[in-house]
C-alpha cells in the first residue's frame, strides 16, 4: 500500500477496473463487482432518482411509465388559445405522421389542432398520439420555493439552528466529558451510567414536559426553543469521554506542572487532542439538527421561524402534495450534510473506529 503510493499511484479508471489476478478475470472479481455494483445501486440509486426527479415538472412526475431523465412535453402557442398546447406526434389512418397540438381529451379521443392551421379541429384516438418530449430541467422547482415561498428564510433558520446548536453541543458535552474523564472521583462511573441511562428514555415520553418548560420560558416560536433542549446529548458525552480517557494522564499532569489552569488544560490540551472525537460528534450533531422534524414542528408555529424540514411539510397539504417542490427542496436539504461529510470524513473513519460507534 505504502510503496504503491510512493511509486506511481493508479488513476481512477485503473482503480475502478482493478482485478485480483494480473489481467485475468478471477471469479472473485466477478463476484466483487456484482456485489459492489449492487451496493452502489442501493446507496446511490434513490439519491440519483431523487435528484433527477427534482427537475421534473408536475406532469412529468405523475407520468406512467416513469422516465428516468427530466423530460418535458413540448407545448406550443396556438392562435386562438390562451394557454400553450401540448404537442403530439400523431399517426393518421393513411400512415403518415403529423405534429398536432391537443386542445382537450374526451374519453378515448383527443381533440387536436394543427398549429399551422388553427381553425380546423381533428379528432384522434388516444393511442394514435405519442407525446413529443425534450430534455427540460424544471428549474422553477427550485426557484419558486426559494423566491416565492420564503424557503431562503427556512434555509437560514436551519443553518442558524444547526450551527449554534452544534457549537453549544460540542462545548457543553466536552465539558461534561472532561469532568467525567480527567477527574478521578468516587461515583464517576455511576454518573456516567446515569448519563448513558437517559438514552433509554424515548423522546416521546419527555416531549410534553419539555414543551411545558419551553412554554414557561416563553421560548415558543423562537429558534432557541429548538436549539436548547437537545444541546446536551448522552451520546456526545459518552463518545467524548471515552476518547478523552485515552489521552495519557502524563500529559494532563505535565500541564498541571506547567501552571496551566483547569480551563487552560481543557481548552489548550484536551480539546485539541480530542479533535477526532469532536469531529465525529459535530457530524452527528449537524445531521441530527438538520434533519430534526418533530420537535421543531411542535415548538415553531409561525412560518418566519420554520426550519427547512418544517417548511417542507407545508407542501404536503391534506388534499394535494406538491411533489415537485418537495423533491427539489429535499435535494437542497441534502447539500449541507454532504458538504459537512466531505470536509470531516477523514475524522469520522478514525473516530468511529476508535469509539466503536456509528
Amino acid at each position: 500500500m505504502a510503496d504503491a503510493t510512493a511509486q506511481s499511484r493508479p488513476g481512477v479508471l485503473a482503480m475502478l477496473t482493478a482485478r485480483r489476478g494480473r489481467g485475468k478475470l478471477h471469479w472473485t472479481d466477478v463476484f466483487s463487482y456484482i456485489y459492489l455494483g449492487l451496493g452502489v445501486l442501493l446507496m446511490f440509486g434513490p439519491v440519483i432518482w431523487l435528484a433527477l426527479s427534482s427537475f421534473k415538472t408536475p406532469a412529468g412526475l405523475v407520468e406512467f411509465p416513469p422516465t428516468l431523465l427530466p423530460l418535458g412535453q413540448i407545448s406550443v402557442p396556438v392562435e386562438g388559445y390562451d394557454d400553450p398546447l401540448l404537442l403530439f406526434s400523431v399517426t393518421t389512418e393513411t400512415g403518415e405522421t403529423r405534429e398536432l397540438a391537443q386542445i382537450r381529451r374526451i374519453g378515448i379521443v383527443r381533440q387536436m389542432v394543427d398549429p399551422a392551421a388553427p381553425d380546423e379541429r381533428i379528432d384522434v384516438p388516444i393511442d394514435a398520439a405519442e407525446p413529443i418530449r425534450e430534455f427540460d430541467m424544471a428549474w422553477e422547482n427550485y426557484t419558486d420555493p426559494l423566491q416565492r415561498f420564503d424557503f431562503t428564510r427556512y434555509l437560514w433558520n436551519s443553518v442558524v439552528v444547526t450551527v449554534v446548536a452544534t457549537a453549544i453541543t460540542l462545548l457543553i458535552n466536552s465539558m461534561a466529558a472532561y469532568g467525567l474523564a480527567i477527574y478521578d472521583f468516587r461515583g464517576r462511573n455511576g454518573i456516567m451510567l446515569l448519563v448513558i441511562g437517559t438514552l433509554m428514555i424515548p423522546i416521546t415520553v419527555i416531549l410534553v414536559p419539555v414543551y411545558l418548560v419551553v412554554t414557561q420560558m416563553g421560548l415558543v416560536n423562537s429558534l432557541w426553543a429548538v436549539i436548547l433542549p437537545g444541546a446536551a446529548t448522552p451520546t456526545g458525552v459518552f463518545l467524548l469521554r471515552q476518547y478523552m480517557l485515552t489521552i495519557p494522564r502524563d500529559l494532563i499532569e505535565a500541564a498541571r506542572m506547567d501552571k496551566a489552569s483547569e480551563w487552560a488544560i481543557y481548552w489548550k490540551v484536551v480539546m485539541p487532542l480530542a479533535m477526532p472525537a469532536l469531529a465525529v460528534l459535530a457530524i452527528f450533531s449537524v445531521m441530527w439538527r438538520w434533519n430534526d422534524f418533530l420537535w421543531p414542528l411542535i415548538v415553531l408555529n409561525r412560518s418566519e421561524v420554520y426550519t427547512l424540514q418544517v417548511g417542507l411539510n407545508a407542501f404536503q397539504g391534506e388534499l394535494n402534495v406538491q411533489w415537485h417542490y418537495i423533491l427539489a427542496m429535499t435535494v437542497v436539504t441534502l447539500i449541507p450534510v454532504v458538504v459537512v461529510f466531505a470536509f470531516l470524513q477523514r475524522f469520522i473513519t478514525t473516530g468511529i473506529a476508535a469509539s466503536g460507534m456509528k
Partner: protein
Amino acid sequence: MTEIRLETIRKAYGDVEVIHGVDLEVRSGEFVVFVGPSGCGKSTLLRIIAGLEDITSGSLKIDGTEVNHVTAADRGLSMVFQSYALYPHMTVYKNMAFGLENSRMPKAEIDARVREAAAMLQITDYLNRRPKALSGGQRQRVAIGRAIVREPRAFLFDEPLSNLDAELRVTMRKELAALHAKIGGTMIYVTHDQIEAMTLADRIVVLQKGRIEQVGKPLELYNRPQNLFVAGFIGSPRMNLIETTVTEGPALVSGAARIALPPGAPVTPGASVTAGFRPEHLDIVEGDGDIAVTVTFAEQLGGETYLYCAAEGLPQITVHRPGQLPVEKGQALSLRLDRKQLHLFDADGQVLANGLANG
C-alpha cells in the same frame, strides 16, 4: 537553591499503604537518585513531592515551608516524565513556552528563555517541529528543555532515560551530569537502574517496598551496605551472597565453603550469618582456599575476566579478575576471599560487619 524535607511521609491507596513513613532530607543543589526495583514506590514518592499525589500523612517541606496542601502548579517544581509527556499538537517551541505563557510572562522574555534553553540542549533546529517528527533522544531533550525554561526551584525526573536505547542512554546520562554541573539546582532523579544511580548521584536513596533501605554516597553504599538488600542491589555483577552457619573458631561453614574469621569477629557460634563478597574481592589460590569451586562458564574479555563457578551446596559464585586468566570451563579452582572486604549480615539481613581484619 532549594531544600526539600520529607517527614514520615505515608501514602495509601484505599486500604493499601504503598509508602510506609519515609524520612529524607534533600539538600540544596544536591543530585539525589531514588533507586529500587520496579513497584517499590519511587514514582509515587516523586509524585508526592511534585504535588501530583496527595499525602496520606506526614509532612513535606520545601525550604522550610510545609507544602502538603500547595498545588503542583504553585510548588515551583519541574518534572520530566518517563513518557516525556510532550504536547503532541504543539511545536517544540510551544511545548517549551507553554508553562511560561501560563504564568503570563512577557513574550520577549519567553522567547529569550526558550532560545537559550534550546541552544544549550542543541534543539534550536527543531523548534518548529512537532514532537511526532523527533527521535527519542530529541524528544528527551525537549522534555528537559521544557523543565529548564521555567527556572524551577527543583527538577524532578521520573526514569527519563528508560525509553532510550542503550547507547543513547549513556550519552544522555553524561549530558544530564553536565547539565547539573552547569545549572546547578536541586534534582531528584528516579531510576531502577543502579548504574545510572551510581554515575549520576551525589547521594543515592535505595527504596524497597515503600521503605528507605539506605541513603548515602554511591561508594558508601557500595563499600558499606547496611543490609542485605542494598548489598545485593548495588553493584554489577551482583555481590556473592552465601548463607552460612557460624562454628567455633570462629568460622563460617556452608557446603564447599569454610571461611575462617579473625578472632573478635562479631559473630556468635551457632548463629546463621550471610556472607557477602564482591566478585573482584576473590583471589584464585594454589592449595587450600576458602571455597572449592568448578568453573561452569568463563567470559574472557581481554582486559578483564569473569568466571561463573559452581560449588557444592552453594549458589553460583562470580569471580571478576583484571587481565587474562588461563582458566577453562570445568576446571577446579580454589578461591580465597579478602577478609577486609567481607560483609557479614545477621539472620534479619542487617549488617554485622563491613570488612574484617585480615585473618
